[in-house]
């Protein structure tokens, strides 16, 4: 899952800063632009402008962090899943998210950043991750809604990334997208089962949808008019479809699904527009979005603290593995001598 259509600078203020003017070698730059224009791919050893590299490092690492932090809200429910079947499914899903984080960290490392640097960024709070995980998962239906809507929104965002101009990123996204469809379907199916249950269970589903719907719309990032970095991302073939266009696709796809499920989406302005052949929808609260991006959402502190604790608690395992390897190497050297 889960890139929030981020071109959010890590020092995210209210507005993005304009791109730095290029001081690159014009000849190399022209060759690079020509390759992008021809819809070619850039591979790790190829020359690329520094700003392209930086943008990718930021986007891919934020994407990876989102996968890793994304394990936490769902992980909370593993021990409380309502059946063995749902528990096994949830463990598999959370394991996938960890895997997605690892594919993405590896892709970012091909750009010259290190795993340690990226983790340092996440753990110190410098690097951003998808804001959706800074909201709590209050009942079991939240787990279903995360699969249906959060993963659904993520799939919309990620499918165009499979055609991203940077080879390692696009290849990682192909793997991620293949696995993502299971995430969305299992969530939707879990909700279908709840909707066939008691009145209280149906109310839980509706409650979860009400709390998460607007957050999911915000996942696509600020409106196109307020995303100056988007144009550059499009130019470079990192971004293929604009935030607003993706958001519209998501709304159009989700409304009929909500109908089948039997829930309402909490937006009085949501209605079919015959002229546009799309659904109209209401105003997103961007103030709240930025507030959460800046660290003041309901769970930002808790999520980060949990993540840092997990990392620190695992330090002895990493140390032991290295100590064991060193010992084996020394033994082999001694035997060879």
């Amino acid at each position: 899952m889960y890139t929030q259509s981020f071109s959010v600078p890590d020092n995210a203020g209210q507005k993005n800063v304009a791109a730095v003017p290029s001081t690159e070698n014009p000849e190399l730059m022209a060759a690079f632009d020509a390759r992008i224009d021809a819809d070619g791919r850039i591979e790790p050893q190829d020359w690329m402008p520094e700003a392209y590299r930086k943008t990718l490092v930021r986007q891919i690492s934020q994407h990876a962090h989102s996968e890793i932090v994304g394990m936490l809200p769902e992980g909370n429910w593993i021990s409380r899943a309502p059946s063995l079947k749902r528990k096994a499914i949830l463990i598999a899903k959370v394991q996938d998210e960890g895997g997605h984080g690892l594919y993405l960290y590896s892709a970012a490392e091909t750009l010259g950043t290190s795993r340690d640097q990226m983790l340092e960024g996440l753990h110190s709070g410098k690097a951003k991750y998808s804001s959706i995980f800074n909201y709590p998962t209050l009942n079991w239906a939240d787990v279903g809604v995360i699969g249906w809507l959060v993963d659904g929104a993520a799939i919309m965002n990620q499918i165009p990334l499979c055609r991203c101009s940077y080879g390692p990123y696009s290849r990682a996204m192909v793997r991620v997208c293949k696995e993502e469809s299971f995430h969305q379907r299992q969530g939707y199916e879990a909700l279908l089962v709840m909707m066939q249950g008691t009145e209280a269970q149906r109310a839980m589903v509706q409650d979860a949808v009400n709390r998460l719907w607007w957050k999911c719309l915000a996942m696509f990032g600020p409106p196109d008019a307020d995303s100056p970095n988007s144009a550059q991302g499009m130019r470079w073939g990192i971004k293929r479809i604009s935030n607003d266009e993706l958001r519209q696709k998501f709304v159009d796809a989700t409304v009929p699904q909500a109908k089948v499920l039997g829930v309402t989406l909490p937006d009085p302005d949501l209605k079919w527009n015959e002229e546009r052949q799309h659904y109209d929808y209401g105003q997103i609260d961007w103030q709240e979005f930025w507030n959460t991006v800046e660290g003041n959402g309901p769970c930002n502190k808790e999520r980060l603290a949990t993540r840092v604790k997990a990392h620190n608690d695992g330090q002895w395992v990493r140390d032991a593995a290295l100590a064991y390897t060193r010992k084996q190497q020394q033994r082999a050297q001694k035997e060879a001598a």
Binding site: E43, Q45, Q95, E179, R318, A321, L322
Partner: protein, 98 residues
């Protein structure tokens, strides 16, 4: 072989054979302390859905790659040797498939 002092888990390139009869194909990389651990982790990271029947792990530093700047020199000479392709030759139709 001289091994440098390890400070963090080194990087490994992972190759997976998807089924008997097919080649091992590069599918990504990961960090692991040693080869045995790299294999173990590759199984968890890259074959959660029966994507493979065999895995190779290779230390990333052991790979020597061609330089992208040499691409022209290395690969362009093949461009004008179209006689290396079967379609270069015209064979009478009555001969049939050849």
């Amino acid at each position: 072989m001289n091994t440098p002092a390890l400070k963090e888990w080194p990087l490994w390139e992972i190759f997976v054979r998807s089924k008997q009869g097919l080649e091992h194909k590069h599918c990504g990389s990961l960090h692991a302390a040693d080869a045995a651990q790299a294999l173990h982790m590759a199984r968890d990271v890259y074959t959660r859905r029966q994507e493979g029947v065999s895995i190779w792990v290779v230390p990333s530093i052991a790979i020597t790659a061609s330089n992208p700047d040499d691409k022209g020199e290395l690969f362009d000479p093949a461009a004008d040797k179209i006689y290396r392709h079967p379609t270069f030759y015209e064979i009478p139709e009555e001969v049939g498939h050849m």
